[in-house]
Point group: C2
Chain length 228, copies 2
DNA sequence: TCGAAAAACTGATATATATCATATTTTAAA
DNA sequence: TTTAAAATATGATATATATCAGTTTTTCGA
């Protein structure tokens, strides 16, 4: 069992605010889990009973609309925590998390986190700051979804993905998403996403490298994202 | 100058967690403001330097998209607090707040709230819980905006408005919004909103009462909201 | 390595929604 | 009260996007 006190991943999230003693307590009760690509970490309606700290890998966080269409709300990677919103509200999960790659995560039981929230104001404040940032991001997404065209949202998504996941040694965006996933991020039909990607490829703004996508003309993509 | 200790409005927000002493301190430094319908309370890019506690009236909280279209993110009324997200992130405001009616609000300076956040864990935890709820609401809105048709969103908005603002003595939804405001809530062109409202009126699902709207057939509206 | 299933792709068509134009009604200011 | 401006309404049309149908390519398990 790896020790939280020595885990570098906590530096990237609110757990960095915990004291050594608190971390030792967490180490004692947390469980490590290996999650296979495609596995469901949790789904809408689940009682979570804790939070997940992502040590390695990527997952998508999504929600079903009443129409039966799936909307990806966020992509989560190393260092992030998921499940904390439901924990704080003391509710069943409103979201579904599915692994996009093999993952290495730690599960920390609810009671331990609540103990820290009640006893360590620095931790609580950091969780609050993180949530404030999430809320700002969500507000931006609402505006984009409501006001921008699918083409704009696709361009923006590609730029955002490159910024977040960087490029691999071949210059391609370092995350593999299916066409359906991309469609579910921008909120459109899979066919529409495919068509618009093909169009961008034809215009040499992007290119496909095996399963990945590389941005060739960032400037042009930024223009499209802004509606030109 | 009214006293926070005696103010009933605080019972509806996180300020309820403050101690008597803390409230007395807030009373000493807060300022009351009368805001006229149509006035801007704050706008995107403003340094807020505090939060606003709404004692009376309603305001819309919105954000401009890069396209130059305005998206209303939330409607805020008596008991709610605005400006706390920017305060916690220590950022300029990402949103604009405009009064939809004459308002009576209290402005509480940033330093005082920060003091309480640092010293009163119950207060911080309540702010955190409120923000967790806001985040859930925002996530739902993302999904609706991305996956539902304008017609669905209009129906849902009308139902939501009735639930939130109740009906007046004539049975109309007790908030007055311009057609443009309604369009900016559902994220569509004003003409489209008008057309769809007319359609609902023609079908006797809603009716117009002067400036207000009344829901005549809630069941049917719920069906439309669900995509039928 | 084969074959079935899944994913990616393309075309044709329908439909929802935006846009532009213009008319009518309401509001508010002079 | 009159009048200009704003809000509401409606029609015509263009366009973006969804949907349905079918093909090709890729993936992966037996």
């Amino acid at each position: 069992m790896s020790k939280c006190e020595q885990c570098i991943v906590r530096k990237f999230n609110s757990l960095k605010e915990l004291t050594k003693d608190e971390l030792i307590r967490i180490t004692a009760c947390k469980t490590s889990r290996i999650i296979k690509k495609g596995d469901v970490i949790f789904k809408e309606g689940d009682h979570l009973n804790g939070i997940f700290c992502i040590k390695e890998g990527i997952c998508k966080v999504s929600k079903m609309s009443e129409n039966g269409r799936n909307q990806i709300i966020n992509l989560i990677h190393r260092g992030n925590i998921i499940g904390e919103r439901s924990l704080i509200s003391d509710e069943i999960s409103n979201l579904t998390a599915v692994a996009l790659s093999d993952m290495d995560v730690c599960f920390i039981p609810k009671e331990e986190i609540i103990k820290d929230l009640e006893k360590n104001p620095g931790f609580t404040l950091d969780v609050l700051k993180t949530m404030a940032t999430s809320l700002k991001t969500a507000d931006n997404l609402i505006v984009n979804m409501a006001q921008k065209s699918v083409k704009q949202r696709l361009a923006e998504t590609l730029l955002h993905l490159e910024g977040k996941f960087k490029t691999n040694n071949k210059g391609a965006i370092d995350i593999h998403l299916s066409r359906e996933d991309i469609a579910n991020i921008i909120g459109t039909a899979t066919e529409s996403a495919i068509r618009l990607l093909s169009e961008l490829k034809k215009k040499k703004i992007i290119t496909f490298m095996g399963k990945d996508i590389a941005i060739l003309d960032k400037q042009e993509l930024e223009k499209i994202a802004q509606g030109f």
